[in-house]
């Protein structure tokens, strides 16, 4: 989910960028020489996830998985998502450079929320596969619903009722993405717990 350059009004853009900068500042405090390699590799994963498409009807949707990334990284999700978005804007023209702050905010803030809400649940010893699946579905839900609500808020403050149709279409388009993100996040968590449980533990 990317908002293009030029869609948001300047005051909204400035407020969203200020919030993203605050989130990035917190995330950067957690970016140490020890955590940077992991953050960079997860940014690479987040970037590549955006290129994975699942056919739906006549078209296809690409995975977002911001909730899953947030669940695994916490506040580091802010710099990680920012960097992935910079590269997506540079290489594919997804989003744009002026809306980087807004796009970072709408994807990373719900990611951090998913971490705050679900991490204690994930950290309990020997999580059962069913619980992991529920956590995966909830992470995707918080990530995507949060991102959609934030995008709707930014569009509403930019254009009010004139953009209601765009907001509705944006929300509608996220439904298949949510279903696929939820299924994939649930499966990924159970697979990680089986193959590399250390990947689920916080560093």
């Amino acid at each position: 989910m990317h908002l293009s350059d030029g869609v948001l009004a300047l005051p909204t853009l400035a407020a969203a960028t200020a919030c993203a900068v605050a989130g990035l500042a917190v995330g950067l405090r957690r970016l140490t020489p020890q955590t940077l390699p992991r953050a960079a590799l997860f940014a690479a994963v987040f970037f590549l996830i955006g290129t994975l498409h699942v056919p739906v009807g006549l078209g296809s949707v690409h995975l977002i998985l911001n909730g899953l990334i947030g669940l695994l990284l916490g506040w580091l999700a802010f710099p990680v998502i920012f960097v992935a978005l910079v590269l997506q804007a540079l290489l594919f023209s997804f989003g744009g450079f002026a809306t980087l702050g807004a796009n970072t905010l709408l994807l990373a803030a719900p990611a951090v929320l998913a971490h705050q809400v679900l991490r204690p649940w994930l950290d309990r010893p020997q999580p059962a596969p069913q619980r992991l699946m529920v956590i995966g579905v909830l992470a995707a839900t918080i990530g995507l619903v949060g991102a959609t609500l934030l995008a709707a808020l930014l569009l509403w403050t930019s254009g009010g009722e004139a953009l209601l149709g765009l907001i509705a279409l944006l929300a509608l388009a996220q439904l298949p993405v949510w279903a696929i993100d939820a299924a994939v996040s649930a499966s990924v968590l159970t697979m990680l717990a089986r193959a590399l449980p250390a990947a689920l533990t916080p560093r």
Binding site: S4, V45, L48, G165, L166, S187
Partner: protein
């Protein structure tokens, strides 16, 4: 004199950001139309002078135009009466000009930079060094992980896998993501250990300090001066025009 063969994109990035901010700030459709027209003229000039090939440029603009199409469908059309809404059309037209002018300018100014160049330029303009290092390391790791992804896709094709909307596709997508995360986690551990063994910190990684402003080539300064002058003239003249025709 810089001995660095890589281009220093600070001034181009500054010019692209200036255009983005100016286009986001102005409410004048005339100004946006002129900015979009200037961007199209610059693109045509670069294509005619063989600096750019039209194919990649058009493909990238097509990506941007998908969002523009959404805007026209939802903002310009009154679906209850199935007719064009004049206020919606005006707003959609303004948003289209804004989106296309910003996207095309960014593409023309930054299109030839890679992630490392961009990281360096952004750090040169004040982006925190940690973020610059993260960006540069990420660019390098994408190539490595992409190789892993390609191996996975080849293996899946060998097993006659064809993606479609099915439970199997979801499972295979989840396996791909899980495998990428596992690969990333193991690689991150190896990287951290390797750096530690060599007494390096990852934050010291690849974003080299930018050269002095004075050592930047004249052509780069000319790009920034040209873009700034075009912006100033456009915004001033269109504001006078708008006042006269109000």
């Amino acid at each position: 004199m810089s001995h660095d063969p890589r281009p220093d994109g600070r001034l181009r990035l500054a010019a692209a950001l200036a255009v983005s901010l100016a286009a986001a700030a102005t409410r004048s459709t005339t100004a946006l139309a002129v900015l979009a027209g200037l961007a199209v003229l610059a693109a045509l000039w670069l294509i005619v002078s063989a600096e750019r090939s039209p194919g990649p440029l058009l493909r990238r603009m097509a990506v941007v135009s998908v969002f523009v199409l959404w805007i026209w469908l939802t903002v310009a059309v009154d679906w209850r009466t199935l007719s064009a809404d004049p206020a919606g059309v005006a707003l959609a037209w303004q948003m289209t000009l804004r989106i296309e002018s910003i996207a095309l300018t960014a593409l023309l100014l930054l299109g030839r930079m890679d992630g490392i160049d961009l990281a360096r330029a952004a750090v040169g303009l004040g982006l925190p060094r940690g973020l610059g290092s993260l960006l540069a390391v990420t660019v390098r790791q994408i190539a490595v992980l992409e190789e892993t992804g390609q191996r996975l896709r080849r293996a899946m094709r060998a097993r006659a896998y064809r993606p479609r909307f099915s439970r199997r596709t979801l499972r295979v997508s989840a396996q791909q993501v899980a495998w990428l995360i596992i690969h990333a986690s193991l690689r991150a551990e190896r990287m951290a250990l390797g750096l530690k063994a060599r007494g390096l910190g990852a934050m010291d990684w690849p974003v080299r300090p930018a050269s002095g402003w004075r050592s930047l080539p004249r052509s780069e300064w000319a790009v920034l001066a040209g873009v700034s002058a075009a912006l100033a003239v456009t915004l001033t003249l269109t504001s006078i025009w708008d006042r006269m025709h109000r």
